[in-house]
C-alpha cells in the first residue's frame, strides 16, 4: 500500500514486495517544509510483540497519526484485535492526541455485499476502540478507495488547509471554474479543493470490483509520526476532500480519488518509456480542464464547464497564481 501511494508502483507489482522487517522509516517531503515521517511497521507477530514491549516508547511516542491496517477477510480476527487493543492502549499513553485511522483492507476480496461487510467491521472496530475516536475506511489497491483514505489522512496533518481552500475558491472564481483541486505532487493525493466547507459525509461503500489471487499476510500497523506542532485534531471536520461539491453540477462523488488514481497510472505509463508526466490539458465534450504544476510540491486541476473558456486562459491564470500559492504554502506549513 505504501509503495502504491508514495512510490509510482502499480498494484500488479505489490505481490513481489517482501515482508517488512521491523520498522522501515521513510521521510516523504509533502508540502514545502512539511515532512511526513512514515514508519511502516512489519506486521509479523514477532515484530508486533516487540513494538508492544521493548520498543514500546520508541514506536508510540510523537505519533501524529496511527494508521492500522486490517485484512477484511482475516484468518484470525481475534488475534488481530488483541494486538490492536494493545496498540491503542500504548498510543493513549504515549501520544494521546494522535489521530487514528483504521483501514479495512483488501475489500476487493469480499465476495458478497461489500457495503454491509464494511459496516459490520466498522461497528466492531469502533467498539474495540473504546473512547478513542477512530475513522474507518474500506480500501483496496485495485481501485481508487486507497486514494480516498490517504487523502483524508493527509488532510488532517496539513495545517491551515482551510486557508488554502479559501484561496482556491477565489482562484476558481477568477477562472470561471466549477472546481479547482490541489494535489500533492508525488502522491497525487488531494490536499484541498475550492469547494465550500462541508460537514463530513457518510463514507459510501467502495465500488464493487473483483480480483484475482490473494497473498495472506498479517495485518500491519503503520504509524506515522511527524514534527508538526499544531495539534492535528483541531482541524478535523473542516474541509474534507471527497465531500459532495460543485453544488448544482452534482459531480461524481468519487472524482477526487479517481483522478488521483488516473493521474498516477498515466505517470506510471510515462515513466515506462522514460518520459516524465508534466502537464495535461483537455477540451472534452463535457468539460474543459487543465492539470498543471502549481508550486514546487503541488499540482492543480481546474475544471470548467463554461464552453467559452479556453485552456490557454486557464494556463495564464495558473502562471499568475503560482507565486501567491508558493507563499501561502510556505506560510501554511510554518517555515
Amino acid at each position: 500500500m505504501r509503495s502504491l501511494i508514495f512510490s509510482n508502483n502499480p498494484a500488479s507489482l505489490t505481490s513481489r514486495l517482501g515482508a517488512t522487517i521491523d520498522v522501515e522509516q521513510n521521510h516523504v517531503r509533502f508540502l514545502g517544509d512539511l515532512i511526513l515521517n512514515l514508519w511502516d511497521c512489519g506486521g509479523q507477530d514477532s515484530f508486533m510483540d516487540s513494538y508492544l514491549s521493548t520498543q514500546r516508547s520508541t514506536i508510540f511516542q510523537h505519533v501524529g497519526v496511527l494508521i492500522y491496517v486490517f485484512e477484511v477477510e482475516s484468518r484470525d480476527m481475534s488475534k488481530d484485535l488483541s494486538y490492536y487493543r494493545d496498540c491503542i492502549d500504548s498510543l493513549r499513553k504515549f501520544s494521546p492526541t494522535a489521530n487514528v485511522f483504521l483501514l479495512v483492507h483488501k475489500m476487493d476480496l469480499v465476495a458478497g455485499d461489500k457495503g454491509a461487510q464494511l459496516e459490520k467491521k466498522r461497528r466492531e472496530l469502533q467498539h474495540e476502540s473504546g473512547e478513542v475516536g477512530v475513522t474507518v475506511f474500506g480500501t483496496s489497491i485495485y481501485d481508487e478507495s486507497l486514494y480516498k483514505a490517504w487523502s483524508r489522512i493527509v488532510h488532517t496533518i496539513i495545517p491551515n488547509a482551510t486557508i488554502l481552500s479559501k484561496h482556491l475558491t477565489t482562484f476558481a472564481e477568477a477562472c470561471s471554474a466549477t472546481e479547482v483541486i490541489l494535489f500533492e505532487r508525488t502522491t497525487f493525493l488531494v490536499i484541498a479543493t475550492s469547494n465550500p466547507v462541508q460537514a463530513e459525509s457518510p463514507f459510501p461503500p467502495p465500488r464493487a470490483i473483483t480480483s484475482g489471487s490473494s497473498t495472506p499476510t498479517a495485518s500491519t500497523a503503520l504509524a506515522t509520526s511527524n514534527g508538526i506542532s499544531s495539534p492535528p485534531s483541531s482541524l478535523s471536520g473542516t474541509v474534507i476532500p471527497g465531500a459532495e461539491g460543485g453544488d448544482a453540477h452534482k459531480l461524481n462523488a468519487t472524482r477526487y480519488e479517481r483522478t488521483s488514481e488516473l493521474v498516477k497510472a498515466l505517470k506510471h505509463s510515462c515513466s515506462r518509456v522514460r518520459e516524465e508526466f508534466y502537464a495535461l490539458e483537455m477540451e472534452l465534450p463535457e468539460f474543459t480542464a487543465v492539470l498543471d504544476e502549481m508550486t514546487k510540491n503541488t499540482y492543480v486541476l481546474i475544471i470548467v464547464h463554461d464552453p467559452t473558456i479556453e485552456t490557454a486562459a486557464l494556463k495564464i491564470n495558473i502562471r499568475l497564481a503560482r507565486q501567491k500559492f508558493e507563499e501561502l504554502q510556505s506560510d501554511s506549513v510554518g517555515s
Binding site: 453540477h249 459531480l251 483522478t259 505509463s269 490539458e281 472534452l284 468539460f287 504544476e293 475544471i303 463554461d306
Partner: protein, 344 residues
Amino acid sequence: MASSSNGTKSPPTQVQRTKVLLLGQRRSGKTSIQQVLFNDVPPKQTFYLEPTARIVKHVYDTVIPLEIWDCPGTTTIDTLGAPLAEFSSIIFVIDIQDSYQQPVARMLDFFIAAYQESPDISLEVFVHKAEAFTEDYKLENFRHIQQRVIDELLDISSDYEQMPLNFYLTSVYDHSTHEAFSRVLHKLIDSLPYLEDMLNVFCANSQASKAFLFDVKSRLYVATDASPVDAGTHNLCCDYLKTLNAFGPLYKSSSASPLRLTASSPSSPPKPTFYPSAAVTLAPSTQGTTLTYHLITPQLALLTLMQTAVFEDRRGLLEYNVVFFREGVQEISQVETDARTGTS
C-alpha cells in the same frame, strides 16, 4: 446473436461487414481477447468468463464495420455454419502454456481449407498468454511453435509453402493484444494506403515525429505514418487514450449542458461542430515531447508526438492541419460506407 456495438446509431442492416473468425482450443483465451479489446473488460475480470457454448457474432464499427465471430473451442468447419470464404481473416489462438499438438493440427485443418477457398485470406496466429513466461522462455516457445506449424504444413504438401501465416505473441495483461489486433485490422482496411499517406503528409506539415489514427474505444490503431512503430510509444498512446476515456465522464455536470456536442437547434445560427482535443506534456522543458489528441470522427482520434516547442509555437498551424486531415478521413469513410451499403 449480435451484441456489443459501440454506441453509434445502428447502421443500415444491409451494410456489408468485414468478418473475422476467432478460433482456438477451449480456454485458449478467445472470448477474453474479444472482451478486453471491444468491451472494455479489465484483463483480470476475464477470469470469470463462462465457456462459450455457441458462436457469438460481435459487431463493431470503426473505420470499417467489423463482425467478429467468437467460437466455442469445439467448432469445426462443418459446425461453423458459414463458408470459410466469407471471412477476411482467421485468427487462431494458441495458449502458449498448453501442449501444441492438438491446436496446431486443428488450426492447419482450418487454414488449409480456407486457403483453398480464398488464397487472399489473412491467416493469423496469436500465441497467447505469453506474459506467463520469462522473456527467453517465451521467445523459445514462440519459435518452436512457428517451426512446428511450418514443418507440419510442408509435410502435408509443398503447395502450402507460400501460405502467408502471421504469428504474434499476445497477452491480455499488456499491450500486445492491442498491437497484434491492430496489425490484423490493417490488412482489412482497403483505404489504408490513403490514410497512411495522409498521416505522412500531416507529420511533415506539422513537424510531428509520429502520428497514429486510433479507434478511440478499442484503442486499436487503424493506421500510422511511415516511421517505425516503437512499442513504448504505442503503449503510451494506448494508456493516454485510456486516461482520456476515463476522464471524459468523471467531471460531467448534471446541470451544465454539454453545449458543444448538441447539434444547434434550427433557430440558432449553425455553430461549427465541436471536436474534443487534449495534450499531455512530457517534460517541463520545451525540449521535451508533447502528445496531442484530436477527435477526427466519432470513432477515430489522431494522436501525434511532437516537440513541445513546436506544439507551443505552431499551434495554429497544427489545428489547421487537423481540419484538413479530418476532412480527408471523413471523405475516405464516406467512400467506404457508400461502397458497403451499395449507395454509390
